[in-house]
């Protein structure tokens, strides 16, 4: 007879990654290597203005003086940045982004397989999608409808040409070029990503979403996303990510910058399902991402929600700079590490303005040989009268070979601050499991139920369609890791 614990172990071993296929499409891929020439090549390929090339080169100069960070609780061999190709685009995209009708059917098929129909009649109602394939944006849906509302939603390379003053004003204003090693690298070589501008007082009429796909071998994806919510505007933005199943590791080093002006609200949701590698830790994406939101305006609000099931290595800390008085920052996270996955993730809440509030809810699930760390910083600066923070940070362990770690930094320089941090770590409840089994529920379903219950607080922050998606994904990952 097998015990519940053994059942879980069996389940954990199965594992399946459903987005692991490769699209066989002819691509223009630059030879591997990183130098000023690479940057000039990318910039030329994108027809960029001189200021942006100069900006990239400046970032590269900074980058060359920096060293890879080693403080994270992660173990991986050194990454050879010279062996990566920094630009790849499907041959059919050679003449730049086209209208949806002209997009290569093979690409459309790829997204359909991933559950992202792009054809007009099949589009998800109420969700505008920008899809980025390796280094280029393939298509953006509902462009006209958004334009009518005054909302700009387009690939960032297009924004550079069409809205240079906005891009120039905000690019790098939240994550400076030299912010950290990977952000500097991204600033030098970023290829595509989404640009969003919501004008004053506009409530974006639909969810905006970007779907990132890495396809080509030996390439890295360096996307850059910039979202600006002008005074009194609201936007909800979602991103999804997948990549083929390969034995080599591929690098994904993105930068996301959010700016919320007075009374603006940005809700940013991520379902990250990059290829996690196999059960022996072979292959998978190295996900080194800098995401930061600047609550620049009074009463502004930025909310991060992330469901992280993929990647061999995750290094990411979506953060909020609470600069405006009465601004609010939120971070809701579910992260799963399974097989040999490693994640070092969390958030930073920097309280600068008066009466600023932040909430952190982090749910970590470790299975197999997964190693997961929550790393968070809550800083209350001297100027931040009456700052409030509540942090809840829970870890669930499934199987005796995994690890869960918690590194919360708190820095308080104002006596009116009120902060509470709570963290717990425990194994999945055998009592709960046994109770379910004794009522005839299968071990898989029971684990799935318990884990979904554990994550509920975060899932409820996701937009409806994504919440369902996320729950399914979690189940699949834990079928590969839970029920």
């Amino acid at each position: 007879m097998s015990t519940p614990a053994q059942n879980i172990q069996d389940l954990v071993r199965k594992g399946e990654y459903r987005a692991g296929f490769v699209t066989d499409v002819a691509a223009d891929t630059v030879p591997p290597g990183l130098s000023e020439d690479t940057i000039r090549f990318i910039s030329a390929k994108k027809n960029e203005p001189q200021w942006l090339l100069d900006w990239r080169l400046k970032a590269f100069a900074r980058f060359q003086k920096m060293t890879e960070p080693v403080w994270a609780h992660l173990h991986y061999p050194p990454i050879d940045l010279q062996s990566i190709s920094y630009y790849s685009q499907p041959k059919s995209m050679k003449d730049g982004p086209k209208s949806l009708d002209e997009v290569d059917p093979q690409l459309l098929e790829t997204y359909k397989k991933l559950g992202i129909p792009l054809k007009e009649q099949e589009m998800l109602a109420g969700v505008a999608v920008d899809v980025v394939f390796d280094s280029v944006s393939v298509a953006t849906t509902f462009k006209q409808k958004l334009k009518d509302a005054g909302v700009i939603f387009c690939p960032i390379s297009e924004a550079v040409r069409e809205y240079p003053e906005l891009v120039q004003k905000y690019l790098g204003s939240v994550v400076p070029q030299g912010d950290n090693y990977y952000a500097a690298l991204n600033s030098a070589v970023f290829t595509d990503g989404s640009f969003v501008y919501i004008p004053k007082g506009v409530r974006c009429p639909m969810e905006l979403s970007t779907y990132f796909r890495i396809n080509e071998r030996n390439t890295g994806q360096f996307e850059r996303t910039l979202i600006i919510a002008d005074e009194g505007s609201h936007v909800s933005y979602l991103e999804g990510c997948t990549a083929p199943q390969r034995d080599e590791n591929q690098l994904h080093a993105a930068v996301v910058e959010l700016v919320a002006l007075d009374d603006a609200q940005i809700k940013y949701s991520t379902v990250q399902n990059w290829y996690p590698g196999d059960e022996n830790g072979k292959g998978g994406i190295y996900n080194f991402v800098t995401k930061r939101g600047d609550c620049r305006g009074k009463r502004s609000k930025i909310s991060w929600t992330q469901v992280e099931t993929g990647s061999a290595i995750t290094w990411k800390y979506p953060s909020c700079i609470l600069r405006g008085d009465d601004s609010v920052g939120e971070f809701y996270s579910v992260a799963v590490t399974h097989h040999r996955q490693q994640a070092d993730t969390g958030t930073k809440m920097i309280h600068i303005g008066r009466n600023t509030r932040s909430t952190i809810v982090s749910k970590g699930i470790s299975a197999g040989h997964g190693q997961q760390s929550y790393r968070g910083l809550v800083r209350v600066q001297q100027s931040a009268e009456n700052a409030r923070n509540h942090t809840q940070c829970d870890s669930l362990l499934i199987g005796d070979a995994c690890g869960a770690h918690t590194f919360p930094y708190t820095e308080v320089r104002n006596p009116t601050a009120h902060l509470e941090h709570e963290a717990t770590t425990s194994k999945i409840g055998e009592d709960q499991l046994f109770y379910c089994l004794s009522r005839g529920i299968s071990a898989e379903d029971a684990v799935s139920m318990i884990v979904n219950g554990f994550c509920k607080q975060v899932f409820k922050e996701l937009p409806m369609e994504f919440a369902v998606e996320a729950q399914k994904l979690l189940s699949v990952t834990l079928e590969g890791a839970v029920g």
Partner: protein
């Protein structure tokens, strides 16, 4: 970087040493000079910068006979080390960082306590270290405590001094099976002092450590307390109160390693931070693979009393097996204004009410001190440092 003053001081010391000890200590000194004083670039020293010590000049201490009657403790056996005392220089070599290496190069023997199996110490041992000198001097002490199986002891380390000085204290403690140690540490060093301490405690099966640490000093103080739960059933309780004011800087780093099944650890620290003081708390619990059925909880709460006070807290968990129950919590806040109002509605002046509530907050750690004269001493010293504390003294 210049550590010249330290190497010069060592040369003066070296001539007094037998050659083999000199060789061992030279190796320690070399380890120290190679590493240098830790800087904020090191994660473990992120909030405490010792680089200013690099160019400081501290002389070797000379004997003194200060009046220490105000530090006398009833119902305890005193062992006093003035300016490093006159212990031998026989203890050499030890793994560790720069501070331990510095200590190993210079340290005299301090407390050397060995309690045989089943024996108990008749009354608590009051180990008083006092440093004071006309010029800046440095003292380095090396302490050892060994408790045999089922032995019991209470040891009170009490650190005080006058003027500007550097002192390092390195303590090694071994608890045999079933042994029980109550370890108090009262750090009450002077405003010009730098106090660097490291204590390592190894616990055998079913042994129990209760460590209560009180930081009242006005200088820069750092204590690294490493607890190794090496055998099943070992239990450690770490309690602490830090109450820096003025320009004091106090840094408590605790590491609890769970290396065996069925061990428990509790950690309960409170901070009352006033003036332009800084407090750092880093409490790490590491649960190693084999340490199943671990039960661990860490709580740290902080009260900031002024606009220029700073607190940096980081309770950490590192867990490498799934059969555990671990939790930690950290809070930062002010005095509960509802409670202030309640006290005022019963006739207490506002600032007395605040002082009383501050004292009550600290009391929850002070009450852990079961040695009554020590508890009284700590309470008195805490109140002396509290605005309006004098008014409370008559109350309590």
């Amino acid at each position: 970087m210049s550590l010249r003053h330290y190497t010069d001081a060592f040369q003066q010391l070296a001539v007094q040493l037998p050659s083999e000890e000199r060789t061992a200590r030279e190796a320690s000194l070399q380890r120290f000079t190679q590493a240098g004083f830790p800087t904020r670039k090191l994660e473990d020293w992120r909030y405490t910068d010792l680089s200013a010590l690099t160019d400081q000049s501290y002389a070797l201490p000379s004997p003194a006979t200060p009046d220490l009657s105000h530090l006398h403790l009833e119902a305890a056996t005193a062992q006093i080390f003035v300016n490093g005392g006159d212990g031998a220089f026989t203890d050499t070599g030890r793994e560790g960082g720069a501070v331990v290496a510095l200590n190993a190069a210079f340290a005299r023997n301090g407390l050397d306590l060995d309690i045989g199996p089943g024996q108990s110490l008749a009354q608590p041992l009051h180990v008083l270290t006092w440093t004071g000198h006309r010029t800046s001097a440095m003292t380095h002490l090396r302490h050892r405590i060994r408790l045999g199986a089922n032995a019991r002891a209470t040891v009170i380390f009490h650190h005080a001094g006058e003027g500007a000085y550097l002192t390092t204290q390195v303590t090694d403690i071994d608890l045999g099976p079933g042994a029980q140690l109550t370890l108090y540490r009262v750090q009450d060093e002077s405003a010009g002092s730098t106090h660097l301490a490291q204590s390592d405690v190894r616990l055998a099966r079913d042994s129990v450590l209760d460590a209560i640490s009180i930081d009242l000093g006005d200088g820069l103080a750092r204590h690294d307390l490493n607890v190794h739960l090496d055998a099943p059933g070992a239990q450690a309780g770490l309690y602490g109160l830090y109450a820096p004011s003025g320009r004091a800087h106090v840094d408590n780093h605790t590491r609890i390693h769970h290396r065996a099944p069925h061990c428990g650890s509790r950690e309960f620290f409170r901070g009352v931070v006033a003036g332009s003081a800084r407090a750092v708390f880093n409490g790490k619990v590491v649960v190693h693979e084999q340490a199943v059925k671990t039960d661990s909880e860490t709580r740290v709460a902080n009260l900031l009393l002024s606009k220029t006070a700073e607190v940096y807290a980081k309770p950490e968990l590192e867990i490498y097996n799934d059969d555990v129950k671990c939790a930690h919590g950290a809070t930062f806040g002010q005095i509960d204004e509802d409670a202030v109002y309640y006290l005022r509605a019963r006739g207490l002046e506002a600032d007395v009410a605040r002082a009383l509530l501050t004292q009550a907050f600290a009391q929850q750690v002070i009450d852990r001190i079961t040695h009554a004269p020590l508890r009284a001493l700590v309470t008195r010293r805490f109140l002396e440092r509290l605005p309006q504390g004098a008014m409370l003294e008559t109350l309590l």
